[in-house]
């Protein structure tokens, strides 16, 4: 995945200085896809928006470290996953808060024997993916949401192609258990 000339120009401008206009272009161009990816990772809109903003903010601050030969989007994805990992570590240090409210999860389940529409299938898949461990989820999202090939996923996550394939393979097995029959491809 090579960066387009427009992306290269955007990167050049970011490297020159982060004026409002350039940041706005960055948000418009890459924000929506990052936001969707963040939503799949976090599972709620508020965290997803925060993660997307933190990712872009970090990207602007660290733009000098971006090497032009790499794909800009892959680099953003890498930041997104790193930021998420850091946020997760922070959250895990917070004390647990118990409430009396019990979430009504039963209503989210599809009715037995009912025909599922695309939205239900999509939601079921998302839930299953969020149950995966962080390394597996990252590989799945890059492969199937980012539509990257194995080599691109490997480069983005700084792991070997073999590891990517074995993680995808494990994911497939795990999803067979997590995903209801109707959700399977």
């Amino acid at each position: 995945m090579k960066s387009s000339s427009a992306t290269k120009e955007l990167v050049r401008r970011l490297k020159e200085g982060d004026d409002d206009e350039t940041v706005r272009l960055l948000v418009e161009r890459f924000g929506p896809r990052l936001l969707s990816a963040a939503m799949l990772i976090c599972g709620n809109a508020t965290d997803a928006q925060d993660l997307m903003i933190e990712t872009l903010q970090r990207a602007v601050r660290k733009i000098s470290t971006f090497q032009e030969k790499a794909s800009f989007f892959s680099w953003l994805y890498k930041i997104l996953f790193n930021q998420n990992r850091m946020a997760w570590r922070k959250r895990s240090k917070l004390p647990l808060v118990f409430t009396d409210d019990v979430p009504d999860v039963a209503s989210d389940e599809p009715l037995a024997g009912s025909r599922l529409d695309s939205t239900e299938v999509a939601d079921g898949l998302e839930k299953a993916i969020r149950q995966l461990s962080e390394p597996l989820r990252a590989v799945v999202l890059l492969r199937y949401y980012g539509e990257m090939n194995v080599e691109e996923v490997a480069k983005t996550l700084n792991i070997s192609s073999g590891t990517v394939k074995s993680r995808l393979f494990s994911t497939t097995r795990k999803l067979r258990e997590l995903v209801p029959t109707e959700f399977k491809p």
């Binding site: 206009e21 948000v27 924000g31 993916i129 199937y144 194995v150």
Partner: protein, 597 residues
């Protein structure tokens, strides 16, 4: 190798990163191993369906409206933190021990004094901006950027004139609309929603909240529908070109004497399309077409236009010159034909809408398709009332001719209400995968714009059957018209179509197959009047298909059909003529046909 190894290799197989030797080995194993074949099919399906599902799953989140502000604000803070960190570092490295306390205190006081004096010197401006925000008295037109400008005039009240003799400015209106002006330009700003470009060039970046923002020139009225677009007003002509989103373009609603005129819609222009109007002449719609224009457009497409507005507008002019040049010749040709009074009753015309740089027509019978057309982007008129001419599907290898095709994914299906008793009609369009469009239209409608595929080029090839059924009162069927349309990647632009049956493209296709055929491939079949394709599955069923005409495309439905996997012998022949084309193909679980020669 174990099955698990082959399954891991399936990822590479689907990514097409295996070398030929390994690919053969994996395919050979898969052909005989049900488990691995099933794994491959599942993964292929995941790659195909999950991106869409995951996008759907992430639908419940919207971009925060203050995203840019939050990022820039966080950056400001981090810069401040960076400064403090660097100051601490500097203190740590240059001063150590107890004595450094007094030195660093003195340094801090000095810095504070400097900052204080800077604040004192600039407090008027800071105070002004605070007042502006607090009182919500933002200027009607605010200059955001300027470069190499000369003789600039910015209105303080509206309506007013925003002009510059040379250079480039970015001005923001209260509605959030950002206008980039390149001098010499004179713009009358009526209010945040309406401007008139009297002379010069502007690039408008219209946020979602300002949809409806309108730019007028002497010739045109451009109403934004959420977009980035460029407008150029010259002495006797106006150009509009859309870089992102779309705009509604109308002819100007006032005459030179200032009288109100009825609104004449030119049409909706989407990204990559535009309109040129020369005073006193016809309006010309154009669009990006051909490799040169496409390459140029890629550099300015979307928000990229804002990065270099001058280049974007120059590119737009170039594309307009290319497009309008071709349009004029086509339009002139049509006018001439109309004047000659060619009758086209009981024939179907196929004609382009926007862009109209090339013209394709075909003679068709009233009730049956006469020809499969090799154009993914054309308008299919089932009844031709306008001028048209018979189409020639030029695929001859011997003469090495080109397909005449157009470039738009919008197909204008147009017709005439031949049946006087018809009160409505049903339009149905079906591809090999099933029905893609079904709509009911009343008598007041004579065309339907069908988006044959989403992106600039089709994701899959297909052959579509179009059927228009005229219905009278009580839903009685009065008659029907049919037509066919092939969507073929190779038929785009002016590139040669690889219609050679012995070439790889004939045998290497995915899922459903679109096969080209042409009597002109062999001298011995050049005079053929009919053609047929025989499909025979080895150790299975056979089917003889009588093809439409002797040149065109045939859609062979393999996906979700009864054919199943296996080897097939295909024979293209022309009854009564010597010579035929033969091919053996192998349809495997991967969904790819591989030719065996």
């Amino acid at each position: 190798m174990k099955c698990e190894d082959y399954q891991l290799a399936c990822y590479d197989l689907l990514d097409r990163t295996l070398c030929a030797k390994d690919e053969r080995e994996v395919l050979a194993h898969i052909e005989h191993c049900c488990e691995c074949r099933s794994f491959l099919e599942e993964e292929e399906k995941r790659m195909r369906t999950w991106p869409r599902l995951l996008k759907l799953a992430a639908r419940n989140v919207s971009m925060p409206t203050d995203a840019v502000e939050r990022i820039t604000h966080a950056l400001e803070i981090s810069k401040g933190q960076g400064f403090r960190f660097r100051l601490k570092e500097w203190e740590r490295t240059h001063f150590s021990g107890r004595t450094s306390f007094w030195v660093s205190l003195a340094a801090s006081l000095l810095i504070l004094a400097s900052l204080g004096s800077v604040y004192w010197l600039t407090q008027d401006h800071l105070w002004m901006s605070r007042v502006n925000i607090a009182d919500n008295t933002m200027p009607e037109v605010r200059l955001v950027k300027q470069r190499d400008i000369q003789e600039i005039s910015v209105p303080k009240t509206l309506p007013g004139v925003l002009s510059l003799a040379s250079g480039e400015i970015v001005a923001r209106l209260k509605t959030g609309v950002e206008l980039t002006l390149i001098g010499p330009t004179r713009l009358v700003v009526q209010n945040g929603w309406n401007v008139s470009l009297e002379q010069g060039q502007l690039l408008a970046n219209v946020p979602h909240c300002a949809i409806g923002f309108t730019v007028r020139t002497r010739e045109l009225e451009i109403r934004d529908l959420g977009t980035v677009f460029g407008v150029q007003a010259k002495a006797a002509a106006s150009d509009v070109f859309v870089f992102k989103g779309r705009v509604q373009v109308n002819e100007a609603t006032y005459s030179e004497t200032g009288c109100e005129m009825p609104e004449v819609a030119v049409g909706i222009c989407e990204a990559g399309a535009g309109v040129r109007m020369v005073s006193g002449k016809r309006t010309i719609q154009f669009a990006v077409d051909g490799p040169e224009a496409e390459k140029l457009f890629q550099t300015v497409q979307g928000e990229s236009a804002l990065l270099n507005p001058s280049q974007a507008l120059a590119t737009a002019t170039y594309i307009a010159d290319l497009g309008s040049g071709r349009n004029i010749s086509d339009a002139d040709r049509v006018t001439n034909e109309t004047e000659k009074g060619i009758a086209f009753q009981n024939t179907a015309s196929v004609q382009t809408t926007a862009p109209v740089h090339q013209w394709e027509t075909t003679n068709m019978n009233k009730t049956s398709a006469a020809m499969v057309l090799a154009a993914a982007t054309m308008a299919t008129g089932v009844f031709g009332s306008a001028s048209s001419e018979p189409i020639s599907v030029n695929t001859s290898l011997m003469e090495n001719r080109l397909w005449e095709t157009v470039f738009t994914n919008e197909v204008d299906v147009a017709w005439h209400w031949e049946h006087p008793d018809a009160v409505n009609a049903e339009l149905s369009i079906s591809g090999m995968g099933g029905e893609v469009l079904a709509t009911n239209v009343s008598r007041s409608v004579s065309n339907v714009l069908w988006r044959a595929f989403e992106k600039a080029t089709p994701a899959v090839e297909d052959v579509y059957e179009l059927r228009l059924t005229f219905l009278g009162a009580n839903e009685t069927v009065l008659g029907a018209l049919t037509s066919r349309l092939a969507v073929v990647k190779g038929a785009f632009g002016m590139g040669t179509v690889d219609a050679n049956p012995v070439s790889a493209s004939w045998a290497k296709v995915k899922d459903n197959v679109v096969l080209a055929y042409d009597k002109g491939w062999m001298a011995t079949t050049a005079n053929a009047t009919t053609s047929q394709l025989t499909i025979a599955k080895i150790n299975g069923i056979s089917q003889i298909n009588v093809l439409e005409g002797t040149s065109g495309y045939y859609g062979w439905k393999l996906k979700k059909s009864d054919w199943g996997y296996g080897k097939f012998n295909l024979t293209l022949s022309f009854p009564g003529e010597q010579g035929e084309w033969n091919e053996t193909v192998n349809y495997i679980a991967l969904g790819t046909l591989i030719g065996i020669r």
